[in-house]
């Protein structure tokens, strides 16, 4: 029966529906799996087994009464960036201490309203700032994947949603919530052989999600299949009057798009995503993806997004600037930790020096610098103008194509310590994903193959604004052609 944890979300819901097992049984399997595996993987930073069983029990009753929601009884993991009522939420930062939100994020509420069960809170980079999970206050997540014949070096599952990706890949939840500001859903999904989508900016409410860079942050799922992602995205997205940038638009039936043929679709291949020094395997994977779509009748079109190379530098002005404003609230007065100093100013400075980790401090300093008097025009205003040109590039190509196909990351997962010395080298992880955040577009990462060390690689599909349907359709076609079924072999203790 331990195979229950290996089911996809869709399969598990079918099993619950035909009473092959109950939500309590399913939840018990996950709790046991987490208990055994988590000391090795560190994917969960807070396990909530009692709450999970309570929710599962209530869920089974609801199902028995014929009142099942769309996720009735499905055990999920929640990234620690989401505020969960009465359950500690820290954004994996020391500065939040033992913060217990008195309210629930809109996205997680949407999941509970459809009957989902919460297994616990998932590890992540502090305030979602990082691409490797090593900036977490709780220590890094160890990826369930290992290099073939390697020295078993601990690999990163990517970041910032590294706990979400690792938990899904290691079957420690059916699916997980995640968030994406520069690639934090898609890069970890690519590193762990899972599927992750960042919807169009404004689709999912940001209410109750700890803010990092408000013009870029967007919620989305990480799951085992494209269909699971489509189902979760439908439920996570909603109009919310408590988020001023939430869009008042219909949420379509995306699960139906996953199996729609791509015949006749025009798929753009942006030449600027071919980087100097990019591993041959990434190029080969991209060509394979192009071939699969061509075989299924899509038309491949070479396109150009000329300002692509400026996306990361723009991001490293805009995101830290917004973060320096958003994180000004952590002053040790109303919640979180306080380090008493000799006077009020000293108390603020000591509180923030002790509470924020190195990477967060670095970004707050950059953000404050680019917004400071005399530098605002040279940095922030210029960046927002270049950002406009990046968006215009996309608008131009979407006149002629329905979606874009790119690699998800410039490499496979790396080992801890291999990249962290040079911040700019670490930032380059997001080179293919950050453009979609700057332009507010939907992007999905779907596993497409393994590199020569046996590690997963992903392809990314970027769609027009509000056209997640195209992302799901093309990702579905890639999923069917790639037939990626490899799972990491469990080196961690199982239940």
């Amino acid at each position: 029966m331990s195979d229950l944890t290996r089911l996809s979300l869709t399969e598990a819901l079918q099993g619950l529906d035909r009473k092959a097992f109950s939500s309590v049984e399913l939840t018990e399997h996950f709790i046991a799996a987490i208990e055994a595996a988590n000391p090795s993987l560190n994917a969960y930073i807070l396990e909530t087994p009692e709450r999970a069983l309570e929710m599962a029990k209530v869920s089974d009753t609801r199902r028995a009464k014929g009142e099942a929601g769309r996720l009735e009884g499905a055990p999920l993991g929640i990234k620690d960036l989401y505020c969960t009522k009465d359950v500690r939420t820290t954004a994996c930062s020391n500065i939040l201490g033992e913060f217990v939100p008195p309210y629930e994020s809109t996205v997680t509420q949407n999941l509970w309203d459809q009957g989902a069960v919460m297994l616990g809170k998932l590890n992540m980079d502090e305030f979602a700032m990082g691409s490797s999970n090593e900036t977490s206050r709780f220590g890094p997540v160890i990826s369930p994947w290992r290099r073939k014949g390697g020295a078993n070096a601990g690999l990163t599952p990517g970041g910032s949603s590294g706990g979400s990706a690792a938990a899904v890949a290691a079957d420690l939840c059916l699916a997980a919530t995640a968030t994406d500001t520069g690639g934090s859903i898609r890069q970890p999904a690519a590193f762990t052989g899972t599927v992750g989508i960042k919807p169009t900016y404004g689709r999912a409410s940001r209410y109750g999600i700890v803010a990092f860079a408000s013009s870029l942050d967007q919620a989305g799922p990480i799951a085992k299949t494209v269909a699971d992602c489509a189902l979760l995205t439908e439920i996570m997205c909603s109009h919310d009057s408590r988020d001023s940038t939430s869009l008042n638009v219909e949420t379509p039936d995306w699960t139906a798009d996953v199996s729609r043929p791509v015949k006749g679709m025009r798929i753009g291949i942006p030449k600027e995503y071919r980087l100097d020094g990019m591993p041959d395997e990434i190029e080969a994977l991209w060509q394979k993806g192009i071939g699969w779509l061509k075989d299924q009748g899509a038309e491949i079109v070479d396109v150009s997004l000329p300002h692509t190379k400026y996306a990361l530098p723009v991001y490293y002005i805009v995101a830290p600037a917004e973060a320096s404003s958003n994180l000004a609230r952590y002053d040790g007065m109303r919640y979180g930790t306080r380090q008493l100093g000799s006077d009020l100013l000293h108390t603020y400075e000591q509180t923030r020096a002790a509470g924020f980790g190195k990477e967060v401090q670095r970004r707050l300093l950059i953000g404050t610098y680019v917004l400071s008097s005399g530098y605002y025009d040279a940095y922030y205003l210029r960046a927002q103008k270049v950002r406009q040109k990046i968006l215009q590039d996309f608008r131009d190509v979407f006149q002629t194509v329905d979606a874009l196909l790119t690699p998800a990351t410039p490499s496979a997962a790396f080992a801890y310590g291999e990249r962290s010395d040079d911040p700019v080298a670490m930032y380059l992880n997001d080179v293919f994903t950050v453009t979609a955040n700057l332009a507010g577009l939907p992007g999905i990462s779907v596993p497409a193959g393994l590199d020569n060390q046996g590690l997963p690689l992903g392809l990314q599909v970027i769609g027009k604004a509000l056209d997640e349907a195209a992302c799901f359709r093309v990702a579905g076609a890639i999923e069917r052609a790639a037939n990626f079924t490899t799972k990491p072999s469990a080196w961690w203790p199982s239940a």
Binding site: S241, T245, P313, R338, D343, L364, K385, R387, G440
Partner: protein, 95 residues
Amino acid sequence: MSVSKADVKKVARLARIAVDEANLEHLTGELNGIMGWIEQLNEVDIDGVEPMTSVVEAQLKMREDIVTDGHKADEILANAPKSDDGFFVVPKAVE
């Protein structure tokens, strides 16, 4: 434009983050590395381009000017490092 130690000190003060003198040199180097890499934005012709204010073409919504929330003093104080009788207790700010 290169970032000096004095700049980092000033910015750290503005950001309300205490930085050790010993760490200043290292931070200045890192910030210079990042800001130097960002300088490439100067290559882009931005003449006549409006700065982006929003990625989605949506009007900010207006709502009735009425109270929609409140009476949650206990919830608001629940996470305070220090509170007393319905108030946050903070260090002395005015002599």
